[in-house]
Each structure stands twice: as structure tokens, then as C-alpha cells.
Symmetry: C2
Subunit: 405 residues, 2 copies
Amino acid sequence: MSYSVEPAQGGVTAPGGFRSASLHSGIKAKTGALDLAVLAADTVGTAAGLFTTNLAKAAPVLVSQRHLAKSGGRARAVVVNSGCANACTGDDGMANALRMTTETAQAIGCAPEEVLVASTGVIGVGLKMDRVVPGIRGAAAALARDKGAEMARAIMTTDPFPKDHAVVVRTSRGHFHVGGTAKGSGMIEPNMATMLGFLTTDAAVPPALLQRALQESARRTFNAITVDGECSTNDCVFALASGANGVTVDEELYPALQAAFYEVSKALAIGIVRGGEGATKLVSITVTGAREWAHAERAARTIANSLLVKTAIHGGDPNWGRLVAAAGRSGVPFDLSSAAVHIGGIVLFENGQPHDANAERAAAHLSGKEIDIELDLGTGGAERATIWTCDLSAEYVRINADYRT
Amino acid sequence: MSYSVEPAQGGVTAPGGFRSASLHSGIKAKTGALDLAVLAADTVGTAAGLFTTNLAKAAPVLVSQRHLAKSGGRARAVVVNSGCANACTGDDGMANALRMTTETAQAIGCAPEEVLVASTGVIGVGLKMDRVVPGIRGAAAALARDKGAEMARAIMTTDPFPKDHAVVVRTSRGHFHVGGTAKGSGMIEPNMATMLGFLTTDAAVPPALLQRALQESARRTFNAITVDGECSTNDCVFALASGANGVTVDEELYPALQAAFYEVSKALAIGIVRGGEGATKLVSITVTGAREWAHAERAARTIANSLLVKTAIHGGDPNWGRLVAAAGRSGVPFDLSSAAVHIGGIVLFENGQPHDANAERAAAHLSGKEIDIELDLGTGGAERATIWTCDLSAEYVRINADYRT
């Protein structure tokens, strides 16, 4: 089956059969700041989810996991708030997360287990339900096709800009859309999930295929980014399929769905990194020459999380020694005498020898906004992996030293 | 056997039978900056070493490992330079590290394999041997008992202050001294070694006991600190025993030697953290309630390396949610409903519930220079581990973004 995946207008409501609404409920102190959103399908569709592997799971994560299991992969809506993570909030937090789903279900007319819930913001603070409940009712009453962009803003915390993306997939059996939005700026090193992410499609997709498409695309997108090596208590990404445009995804169409999920997820994931707390540069770390993919991935992740690498990139310093040192401590096979480092395609270290004459050209590449780094482990394998990260600036420290105060 | 361990004057030459000398050889650009030191025993004694586990080992690490193996745990001297790590320098680097030992051996009159070598500084830059060789000859000619403090300064790179320590051990079979010096400020998360560390004793100690004492004390000191989660290419810590004062350590005296090594190593290790790049606070992270020591250690290390924890401490924010989130992602058993967090002995989270009324008192503790954090994993075990770390400041970013430029 041949297919094409092309960019489309809009975000999470680009696919047919979805509406959303966002408003300022009062969770965030700043007047008018969007802090609550409802995304709803016109009828109950299928759903899939990936969740944080952190053992300190927030209440909304636990509730959404249960609802997906109970509904057998079917959902009508997602309700999400920013400004409060509802994490480490004990029994009250569980009751509040559950109530967010029952209020949403009542307002739009479905079963509570057909509603998924997500929260993001400060850990350890309870939700102000006297603001959340009227907010849910107000949003449910205002659902519209053209409000996808507002949802991208309503889920932001320290994000410097909203992130959404959509594509249209054309196949000989018809076309369908995939759209999505995501947030995340700090505490970003998802592990089998991301910060909050929401994907939609107007194809009809059986739950198992939807889950598979979400997982496979997340492995190389949401799970291949790191801002600060932190895995949150609240990470989750949901996919909802409305089936509104009549195309049903089966095994034959699955590659097209998978490709579209990958495109949308990659755009959102890179957006998260580009908008990382204090970030001034988007950095792609590719590790090659590995005998196993997991080796390449682990080395790339170690480099991407190295404070010395991230500060050197921030300073525009082609300090390849820090790249080699990070690879060497990553716990995977590494052969210094055959290893190589390229920055912006320029060789700086190869076969055990520095190429310092190239440092100036590499520094010029590092002065840009999009940085490419490639490290060969020197172990002679053909496996490779890419992790996207950002530089570490004094602004990151300022943001996180002052976050609550 | 009862014994006492008491503080003593001096550092690496406090134990009898050792002399040292330090000078400016010209490796560092700054006029007069000490950059080369020789530490020598009056006669050949025993020696032990711990080395970085980084696979990108620097030339001096490889040479010292071979020399210790070849000499069967005997050494006469250590030669060390700062300002250049001699790492990732290929065959020339190996030849230069070896030459540092042969020049030292010739100058003081011993076999090359009885000399250990260490380097610290920038990775990927070759040693200027036309400056190093005269430097070694000059230092070897100037060895003196009273120059231990100079060596503590000669091994510094970005360290804000020198670190040395000494103790006297009194036993019914006589007394002996243990002294030491260490350097390290960034790229600090040793793994079975530290940045550079040098311990001396005037007891006679068989090589196997010396190695055991070094390893056991390093596990809870040099290997229990982290500044930035980076494990260097050059980490090593050496112990030399001169036997100058006639006491021989055997199994009966071993606990006294071990206690003294622990005291000196702990003082040096904490000094490294206190002088961490950009550090403004010394932070002790203790994890309790673990069923295995390794669980407590891993959770404590994860918390100690968490950028969000380190920036919160820098900002004086009692953000216990970040501590819980770090423990939850550390990969060890963790039970949120029974976990607890104390900052400065003040409970902030317990049995799944925040104690926010205590936040102000905890913030007052965080405004100090020495911070105590305790997290109970909630799994009901009796094991505990402590990791020392520092806060993360904008100054760390400034230092490392500008290190070479």
C-alpha cells in the first residue's frame, strides 16, 4: 500500500470528529491564563495511552490507566489542567482526579471510564476543585472544532511557546488526519511516555493497533528527547481515534498510520526540546558504530544528559573531549582508539587523534541554533540512535531555583 | 585492639618518610601557578591505586595501572601535573606519560615502574614535554618534608581551595599517621575512584591490606560524592605506605588503618563537594527504608544528580516533590504511600500526605550552607546510604560554558 504523509493545518482538532475548549478556571494565579481544557470526540472512539514509569505516579496517571483498562481502550474525552500536577496528594488527589472525569462525563454525556485525565504543574499541591469543576462545565459547554490551538496553550507550564502539529495521510483507500499537541519544558526525560501529549485521528483504529502505533512512534520521538534527565510523575501521552471520516486502519493501512504518528510525534517532541527550560539551541546527538541499538541509545542519552556537554554547547565550545568522556562512562562498549567525533559534520577526533585544526569551523557550527553531533563508538557495529536535547544555560538554573518562590 | 584517630597537622607529608615539591613548570599559562608536583618516599614502600571506570582512560591512568601491576604493589614516588589531562592524546600521550615516570625515576633513583603518574586538566591536549621534563627535574631536586601544602595547590584546576587532611592513629602497638590531598571540582562522580587523590601513611602496610583499606574507605567517601554526575577520564586515587615509623599493619591493626583512611578520605571527599564548581551549599542526601544498601545508594545518587533538586536547593525552595519524583524514577523499589521526606530534620511529606505548614522552617534550613536531606523509600527496610553533593548554580554553567574559551 503506497501512501503519502503531508503537513496539514491545525493541531489536535484537525482530524474530524473532535472538538475542544479551553479556559482560565483559576488554577493559575495569573488572570486569563488558560489552565483547563477538554478535548472530546463527537461519539465514543478508541483510545491508547503511554504513562510515566516513575513509581511516584500522580493521581491522574493512575485514574487514566484504570479507565483505559476498564473501557477496553475506548474513550470519548480528555480533561486536562495545567498549574497543578495533582501528584503526591494522597487520597484527596485520587478523589479529585476521579471527580474531574465524572464531571466531564456528566457534562458531555458519557461514562466516567470513557474520560481520561491529565494534570501538569507543581507537585504536592492539591487541586482547587471549586475552580476546576465550574471550569470543566464551562469548557464542556463551549466545545468547538476551531479551538485546537487554544488547547496547546492551555496545557503549558514553563513552556515558552505552544506545540501542535497535524498531517493528512493519503492512501488508495482514502485519506485521514492525525493531529496532536504536547507540553513539556522541564523535568523532561520521558521513559515510555512523555510529558503531556495528545494525538488524535479521524481514522477508525482498533485499540490494539492504536496502542502499537503510539508505542512505536514514541520510542523514536517522545522517548528520544531529554531536557534535564528528569522523568516526571505525570508523564502521559494519549491517542484518540474518532473514526469520523470513514477510513478504518487495519494491518494494511497500519504503516501509513504509524508514519503519520511518527511525523506528528517527532514535530511535538522536537518542539518540547526547542522550548526546553532555558534552552537556546536544539541539539541532535547521533551515536553510530554500535553493535546493538541499545548501546547507541544509551551512549547518546548519556551524552545528551551530560552537564559538561550541555554547558560546552551553550558556550559554543567544540569540546569533543567531554563527548568522548561521556561516551566512555556510559557503560556500553567503547573503543577510544577507533572512536570518532563530528560536530556539524566536521571531524574533531578520529582514530585516537585530535583534529584541532578544525576546531574553529566546529565552533562556527555551534554558534548556530541547530546543532548536530555525531559520535562513533569505535566498536565496528552498524547500529545507530539519535537523541534530541538542548543546551544548559544559566536561565535553566534561574527558572528552577525560582519555580515556586 | 583499641585505637584512637585524632586530627593532625599537615597533609600528604604528615606521615614520616615522605617529601614533596611543587613548582610552576609552564603547563598552566598563568605565571607562577603551581602545575607540577612530585611526592616521594625516602625508600621504596608499598602502594595501592583505584582508577576511573571510564572506558576513555587517559594515558597516565593506563601507565599507573601497569606500573602497579608490574611492581607488585610497590612504589617510591608519584608525579602529577595539572592544567593538562593527557587524555585522548593517542600514542604520543602514552609516550609522554611514560616519560614522566622515567624522568622522575632517574631523578630520584628508582625503577620507572616504582613511579605512579597522574594528570588533570583539559582533555585532548598534548603535554608540553619541554616544560614538563625540566619541571620534574626541578621538583625532584627540591623535595622537602614541609611542602605538603604546596602539593595540595599544585594539583588544583578549577578548585576554589586546596584540600588536605591528616590524622594520627594511636594504638597499643604504637602510633602512625595517615595524610592525604585531593583535587576535583567539576566532572565529579567517581566510580571506584575519584578525581586525583593521594593518601600516605608512615605505617608499613602489605600491598593487599593497603588496597583493601583504600577500596573500603573510597566506597563510602570518594565514591559517595557527586558534583555533576560526570565520571572523568583521569580519576585515580593512590595510597603510599613508607613504613618510616616502624609500625606494621596486620589484620589486628587493619581496623585502625581503615578508620584513619576513612577519616582522611571523608574530609577530602567532602572538601571536593564543598569546592564543587559553582557550589554554594554542601548537601548530604541520606536515603533510608531500603531493603538493600544498593537501593538506598542508587536512590540517593539519583536525587543527588537531579538538576531539579540541585536548583531547588540553590534557590532555597523546600520542593520535596522533586525529591519524591527523583526517588520514583531511580529504578529501585519505592512506595509513595509510605515514603517520607525530611529537610533539616523537618518532615515535609509522610504517609502520602504533604506537611506544607512546615515549609517555612525547611526553607530556613535551606538558606544555610550545610543542607541535610533524608528520604525514606517507604519499603520498610533497614538499609541506608548517604551521598554528598552540592547545589547547581548559574556559576556552574558560566564556568563550564567558558572553560576553554
